[in-house]
């Protein structure tokens, strides 16, 4: 069973986990993902690669508590184990030297665009990074992005740090001002990717987005991860997760992500009520957006 070197909280509901999987790390590339199973009864949850340390054979994933499995992940102790970590899955992000390339990371998406920014940089690009979150305390990896990017823009929805507004606002301004961006990679919540793709279409800049439909096996066997791209059905786990943002049907993606909403909420409620589970106070106080804790 893969060993978890450390699993530390880096934001109100955000954790960073490093897993010792040297063979996987030796093969993995930016843009790919892994599937983790915390325990024998657990779901298989996909997680993007947020960092690779080839020397120590360590994989970094950064995750947000959104339901039962991600909440359970927070209980894995430093030096503990998880049942499985399979990968690298999906295709690596397309990387070449375009001159100037831009990565846009929103919320938890700040994590997976970081290794992609690194790869763009290594290929010789000038890299512009735009990262944003709802508020200052949710932001992370400013330093890491700052070290890679030639230009870094930070924004928050509430103005508590950096630009007051959305990542897409910053991007539009850059494009309007004539920044010579030839390629954009945007990862974040579906509404964010939708907006980014919409604005970059007007400027005719190729834009990739990384899709996160529900998955089971991650090898092309179940078809649960199907997405509609350019009117065609694709399996995100093998044909993606990166797709041309201008062709993605975001409505289908949004709708399919809600398939198990009721069951998920029931499972999370049960977990939060379980006194034996070693959840931290922060996780115990979890509420769904737009829902008050009764």
């Amino acid at each position: 069973m893969p060993r978890v070197v450390d699993n530390i909280q880096i934001g109100p509901l955000t954790w960073k986990m490093r897993v010792e999987v040297p063979r996987l790390v030796a093969k993995a590339k930016a843009g790919q993902f892994v599937i983790i199973r915390v325990n024998e009864q657990g779901e298989r949850v996909p997680m993007s690669i947020a960092g690779l340390d080839g020397e120590q054979g360590l994989l970094t994933v950064i995750y947000q508590v959104v339901g039962k499995t991600s909440a359970l992940m927070t209980t894995v102790e430093n030096g503990g184990e998880i049942s499985d970590c399979v990968g690298p899955l999906g295709l690596a992000s397309h990387v070449e030297n375009w001159g100037t390339a831009c990565v846009v990371g929103g919320g938890i998406g700040i994590a997976p665009v970081y290794p992609i920014a690194q790869a763009y940089k290594e290929a010789g690009n000038k890299v512009i990074s735009i990262i944003g979150a709802r508020s200052k305390d949710i932001l992370f990896y400013q330093k890491e992005h700052g070290e890679v990017a030639d230009e870094l823009y930070v924004c928050t929805d509430d103005g508590s740090e950096g630009h007051h507004g959305f990542v897409s606002d910053v991007l539009v301004k850059l494009l309007k001002d004539g920044a010579p961006i030839k390629m954009i990679m945007a990862i974040g919540p579906v509404p964010m990717m939708r907006v980014v793709a919409k604005v970059t279409k007007e400027f005719e800049v190729p834009t990739w987005v990384s899709l996160n439909p529900l998955m089971v096996d991650g090898t092309g066997m179940c078809g649960g991860c199907r997405v509609t791209v350019g009117g065609e059905t694709k399996f995100a786990c093998v044909d993606g997760p990166d797709f041309d943002g201008h062709l993605v049907d975001f409505d289908v993606l949004t709708s399919r992500l809600n398939a198990y909403k009721d069951q998920e909420r029931k499972a999370m409620k049960k977990l939060l009520e379980d006194p034996n589970c070693r959840l931290t106070k922060a996780v115990r106080e979890f509420t769904y957006p737009g829902e008050n804790k009764a």
Binding site: E43, D84, V216, T219
Partner: protein, 474 residues
Amino acid sequence: MIEKIEKKERMKIKRAEMPAQKPEDRVRNFNEVPFGLTAEQAITEAARCLECKKAPCIDGCPVEVDIPGFINLILEKDFAGAARKIKQTNSLPAVCGRVCPQEEQCEIKCVLAKKFKPVAIGHLERFVADYERENNLVQIPAVAAPTGKKVAIVGSGPAGLTVAGDLIKLGHDVTVFEALHKPGGVLVYGIPEFRLPKNIVQAECDVLKDTGVKFENSTVIGKMETIDELFEMGFDAIFIGTGAGLPNFMGIPGEQLIGIYSANEYLTRSNLMRAFDENDYDTPIIRGKNVAVLGGGNTAMDAVRTSKRLGADHSYIVYRRSEAEMPARAEEIHHAMEEGIEFHMLTTPIKFIGDDQGRVVQMECLNMELGPPDDSGRRRPVPIEGSNFIMDVDLVVVAIGNSSNPLIQSTTPGLETNRWGNITVNPDTMQTSRPGVYAGGDIVTGGATVILAAGAGKKAARAIHTYLSNGAPK
């Protein structure tokens, strides 16, 4: 007690009836449907066998199990010996006794089949294998002196497990790489618990482990290492048994609605992830009230019977041909009918209709009639114009077959495939176009049967052994 009796007397014995859970009970649980023969029943049934000299039943079995041989040992009450006899050619008797389509393989060839009912070969096979396992009589096979040769097996379905079992005994160093977190292939993720309990598959894998086979689960070959990299890692030969795991969809409007599953997804959620046991396992599954399963094969039967157990009021099979053309095993269709599955024959969906949440609520269908035979020799279904009608459904499972998963083929230069993406092999040795690389099972044939996959594994194991014994070139 039954002594050996005259042939005439033997033919008067009635074929054993498999005791089973009553339909009204079993639709409420996931326990296995048939209980298995009692020892007494097995001995009586064994007495029916005429022990034919040129036993035609053996010709019907793809791996040529010595059928009269093992049945004779049952008469002598050496049940474990009978199981070992079967294992000389079939390493998975507990599985095959349950899931082989005996009625079109060994049993159809039985001389008794013409005038009476054939000997219940499958039931007997299952009985002795269960007896051996449940009484802890399974012997860890003797292993030959180490040859120093390493073999990699990709995929742990019946094909891969058979190759592993045969080659470990011959002294080779065997590692099985499996993409999922549990070994067994379709035996664990596809075929439901009520037909093949998962502890049986686990027990088979445990024996292989105890014999020395190494299992590396959660390892996707082609993503982790490629075939060429396995050679670089020191493997001398490779067997590819990756199955037919790429679900086909209908390609009709509405297929992206919530509540439309491929059979692979539906069955994997229920079997591998054990979503049916919602108190203990975390993976969710949609429990429909009106469930339509599209297709007429074993997979469709497994899916539709699963839906009933998950609480459906109405579970339908929607099949575009007639019952006579249904590829599912007769026994499965029979079980499904007993469980109250409703069959809509000569029907094809043309469109799925959703609500404002994107969930499927209805399915538009057309009635069909049978026209002249097509390439497959079966009469081709033709739509009846204007016969459109609507079915209310809240869950649809598409079970219209699988194609080959391209992960290995696309990462292995020089590996030849046919136009459906199946790996092409020499049918005598199962060798692919790449020296030292062998393949078998569904990845070669397309969706077939457990015993055919196991048979291909046997053949490949023999050829791999020859190849390694002749000093595989590095």
